[in-house]
Symmetry: C2
Subunit: 287 residues, 2 copies
Amino acid sequence: MPATAVLLNGQPRTAESATVSVFDRGFQYGDGVFETLAAVDGQARDRDAHMARLAEGARLLGIPAPDPAVLAAEIDALAGAADDSRAVIKVAYSRGRGGRGLAPPEEASPTRVVMRLPWPDHPRDWADSGVRTIACRTRQVSGAALDGRIKSMNQLNHIVARMEWRDPRIAEGLLCDDRGCLVEGTVTNLFAVRDGEVVTPDLSGSGLPGITRGRILALAGEHGVGAREADLRPGDLAGADELFLTNSLVGVWPVREHDGRALPGAPGPVTRRLQRALEASYAESPA
Amino acid sequence: MPATAVLLNGQPRTAESATVSVFDRGFQYGDGVFETLAAVDGQARDRDAHMARLAEGARLLGIPAPDPAVLAAEIDALAGAADDSRAVIKVAYSRGRGGRGLAPPEEASPTRVVMRLPWPDHPRDWADSGVRTIACRTRQVSGAALDGRIKSMNQLNHIVARMEWRDPRIAEGLLCDDRGCLVEGTVTNLFAVRDGEVVTPDLSGSGLPGITRGRILALAGEHGVGAREADLRPGDLAGADELFLTNSLVGVWPVREHDGRALPGAPGPVTRRLQRALEASYAESPA
């Protein structure tokens, strides 16, 4: 099987033949949602949670949700047929073709694309020895905007943030909202550890609560590590004992340097403990 | 000629054969810009101004701009071959195909789509007798976000606003920013007239300064009508003598009812004067 494979509305396509109409509202307006999953040893991790978030995003946009049994079968088919022990599954789900103008068609025919893609080429040792991060100048969109709270195809703000650095030794950039509070990385959630307690930004106003973030918060509780959501400002990072990042592909990335300042002792013990607990939890309850 | 025609990277396509890769960053992330032009009697209005705004949006996104001579020729070809006296020309310009992940490819191969589409089926008398508008609950994205200041493919916020009404007698919805100041309609700019003076929201923080808005501000000056950009709050609308909306397709739409409240005497004299001046200005300097 080639590393890249596509199911377009259920039909197998090659990377070359997987196309959508220029009138697809995904292309015209970013009118859709997506999910990115890790397929490890043939199994898509947190499949049901990703599908639930996709369906909720579609619901908020008024797009008819995909049939969960069909979508699950498509994800499983691509994940299960991967030659590599690790692959990426991406689901893109748009409102489908429409006429010109913002008003959606009365009866949408959504476009459903399930893709299998090569595992990202991050250095393997980043999960072990930690990563470098920077503070982005780009601000998170305001809390009022729906597109900052669902995993939508409107990713320009984070693309602009991602374009702030080209140095391949930098793994991630962190964004603040208009209040100057940290929200998230361009593709990760942020955690700080202080006095043995884990703090992650409160995302009730803005930002995307990641599925791996949810796992970490639950695991902290199970392992007797205090965890809470709170406002976290850039100045707080200097006083943190440990920092780490999470997402569905990388799991936990310890942070060993932020904005040029080394974090002594990184990766720290709480980070390491939760990183191991996360891996173990996938073995217990993968989907 | 069919009403709908497409040039995809310069190649003629039918509505059915005009497709882009699912890996096009326009489809994946809304990573691109667009413009909508009126083609009247075979000529695309304000072509050069729309092309300049498209190029500026691309520049801000770090996407190589299209060759202006090539793009102008494509727009002119589709506009000139229209059977109808009025048609819509839309240009969609994305960063093109990319791998997975937000970081743009080092060398982008942008996707350039020039489309001719049927003229919208708004009632013809809206320009004469005026339109109904509502206040949207959806908030404009914050001023910090680039995607609210360029005409990008990230249109979800305004789509959500547009979904607030289905009544076909409502022409437009107006959005406020987080400060409670009016910014724009979902596809139009807003003007209020009070004591003979024209006021339009200051868009330095958020919102898209329309090309027709620019024409109106210039024409007001030429016709001895005072015009300024200022904060405009919903409460100010009740005290306005006249309200009107502008965009490249509708020109000037007088507002005759906002949020269920009739505006007596609409369309008012200043609106009418600027509406006529706008039409006359296209005859003088169409492109």
